[in-house]
Symmetry: D3
Subunit: 211 residues, 6 copies
């Protein structure tokens, strides 16, 4: 993957017509010069499956592809958390992803997972609400408690205590559900930081998905 | 304008199919029960002009319509800041509006002015960048400095000093431009709070404008 | 209005006698070089009324006087919020102004509106309490709730929700009152930022008014 | 010292005429019921000296008078820091006291030491600037650096490093001066917290001293 | 793994002798009732290797053992980041782990990785410095820049930009090193949150390792 | 006391073997060049008593020894707060010291008073819990409330009110106990800042005391 030029463009008022905001996002995926390795057979198959099902390979996977061990470990954890059976619906998991990423103001994850919320809910405005301020959405008490827990865990993890877990249990969440909320919130606290540290750019195709 | 019901919906996992996130947004515009006054001739003409040019009356105007003095004052200030001649382009002014509203996580303003950035720039992703994290956008040095000033003024106004103004002047901003950046940032710090305090809802039509 | 010199004075321990802290405050009102326009007849009349009733024209008005449209819009909004009929007394409105400005540490507004609290309450210490820490004042539950709402809206507007509005209603505030608290808090969040961005200086006469 | 009643007064709009904000401040000095001990001869002499020189005994001394050991230790440390020979003038020391107390929004210390700044400088507005936002004052570079150090040490002590000390040395502060700035800033970080924890009230006489 | 009792112990001053702070830490590892699955052969071998090399199985592994997929994914990612070849030494990686965990005040990770820093450096005080305030340690410029990047990424990931990456490159870090710093900081931002959300307890044996 | 060299060591990866983290901590106690005065007889006796009872003189005392008045005042206040009769046990007082110092991330106080908690409790892990996150410790309700009050007073003293004091009273704390909690929390808010401002180093012997 080619290393990008510095992102501050030429100055001046007459800088119109401006370069599209997504220019380069599909080719220069991060600010780091880390050329991809040859994909392992397993990962090649996985990329092919992405192409088939989504029509593209998410840029985060291309960003990790400079090292097959890192790519495999990321894929294994991601797929377990977001796609494996859980007491949380896939939409709920994506809502957590976006609410956490909104706290961390992570452009990559807000674009990619905002699109997922729009798709899974068939409700474009729900995706925007998660990205802008989940507190303004009309949510069930269950959804709201789930997101409050995830965002508190994001903002001040040292303050999370038994009382917070009890609050979730009272609304019907099992201990396994609590683990899943925590693990997903934790995962996006990781991914948000890897994306911000490397200026990772989302595939341009996400922007108008499920609008 | 009818006062809305409390926004926490019925609970439970089987709450599908969920109510669309924008349900009621065009009819129950705020959480306050403030019935509109009869529009003054001047404001009736202005609303008619909105209908004609935009196809709708922005909900913020309907929210202020319970009192003609408040509505007129708001309209006069808004139109002067956002539409009157200025050293800042209309797009630059809307970029300030969205970057400030992103700091304050104001749903109404992010939706309404995010649409404006998309329209004025013909670049949907630019609107999303302003709403998600303007620091991730590829901006000219001028644009970046303008937004850094507006967001610092939003986050910690007590820290803004001559050095900050000098930084803008060095990039070619005049003292009048500095006033305009400050006044627009200030205005959205006001509007964000009126909107959040009243749970103001954006017209649903904004969501897919200029995508 | 003449543009001021940079404010860092000559250095050194022997810099006594020091220049009075208000030096220049009545002549070089902001750090921006924006010469006043000729006042419109309406604004000239308003300035004359200020001179007559207050004995001076508040510097914020002089600061806006480089553009009659901006000045008129500011005056219209200010007078509606602070002087028009409302469920909030004028003193309550000024208390909100000062508590918000204290959060934002705005020198101009603390001086000018601190004086207003002293005058309207005939209680100098009340003005100081609002400027220093309103939580240390002995307030009625109504006053305290009003200020808590205004300051929460100032500090973290994204957290204001129905529960906050309900708290005000339980203490007897109407929905119109809630609007007024929000609109005044919002207005000073704007003014604090315009003042800080331009280093606006309060008229020196405020300092010993109503002591 | 009599323990005060809870400070939330009777509610209701018709609560005028309101109780003066300083009511009780000279008799019920803290929210704790800690009756004074008999003053030791040394402390009795000190209180007499206060009466003679100031015309009153500062309430903080009365608050500590429930225990002679605590009172003596406080007086010894206070007098050494604020009155003993130092490279910092008495005014500079009081400016530090007020700027630190402003960060911590301590009513007692802002009132008492704000009065001291007014007196020592013969400049009432300087006292208000220290209490409202010292960054808005026209200070010498020396004064500004001294206050920036004291306030950084107050806000985020874990970030203070050699670079900060070097900045002071470059402006002519000796290592002993640096100690004194730190010790005074530290002392008011202590006193602000004792005052806030006990709702300590300033002598009402401070309010109009040196206006 | 047995679910723990609520952690607030019996009250009262005579509660001596107090229960040791580590009581239960080796048996009731989290606050969630998630019984372990049978270990897969691969994971059984890994646990055996831990027993052999460390003398115990780290509690975090036991906490994940309720689900083999989650355990495997965690182990794969952890081992790649902390043990695989990298431009960062193992000590540097553990220093990042502890400095990040100190920002997040994560008891589990501070205990477990504090021990690792002590061991790898043969310098007990270095472990304490990383856990208490890494800025107080005498570090090389390389180490300091690495930790500053990791902690900024932890505290305000949205502020990390090209300038931060350039700072690392100027000190000799490669783009691969930058990835590794970001990935390790990200990983502990995840683990800190999983640990805090579940009240995960460190093996008691860590406390006196390498003192 | 000799002034230390700047703490950033020589750079480079091959900087092994690294200088021990405590190098110089027992000889160059602060970053300031403040040579000790001759000890007064009273202070000489006190230092001798420290040597006899502890085996060493705590570095904070050596740091203050450049001025006998400052040293005496510090010692008087410290001994009164931490050793004189009080409704708080000595362990409780040291727990407050460490929890406050953890909030302020003060290396000196965490090392010195962490050792004191370990010694007084005969429970090394309790010392680590206080330094890392007291919320993760299994405390009595009394202990927890005491530390919550002390840490709130540290983090946002302006928010402490009658409700906080009432919470302590309900758990059996007297008004004198409340004073003591506040005074100790205040004292360490002072000491943390003096230590951070001067880069004060703890005696190396503390590190393995009572492990």
């Amino acid at each position: 993957m080619a290393k990008r030029k510095s992102k501050t463009a030429v100055d001046g008022r007459a800088s119109k017509p401006r370069t599209p905001a997504t220019a380069g996002d599909d080719t220069a995926i991060t600010a780091l010069g880390l050329p991809p390795e040859t994909l392992s057979p397993e990962m090649a198959a996985y990329f092919a499956k992405c192409e088939e099902k989504l029509g593209f390979v998410p840029n985060v996977l291309k960003a990790y592809a400079f090292d097959m061990n890192k790519l495999s470990a990321f894929v294994a954890m991601y797929n377990d958390l977001m796609l494996a059976p859980s007491g949380l619906s896939k939409l709920e998991r994506e809502m957590i992803a976006v609410a956490v990423s909104a706290h961390n103001r992570c452009y990559y994850c807000l674009v990619a997972h905002g699109a997922a919320v729009r798709q899974l809910s068939s409700d474009p405005a729900l995706g925007e609400l998660m990205a802008m301020n989940y507190r303004a959405a009309r949510l069930s008490r269950r959804e709201r408690a789930m997101l409050d827990f995830a965002v508190k865990l994001t903002a001040e993890p040292w303050q999370v205590e038994e009382e917070d877990r009890e609050g979730l249990r009272r609304l019907g969440f099992t201990d396994r559900d609590i683990w899943d909320i925590a693990a997903i919130a934790g995962f996006f606290n990781m991914s948000n930081r890897v994306a911000s540290a490397t200026d990772m750019r989302p595939n341009s195709v996400y922007h108008d998905q499920a609008r």
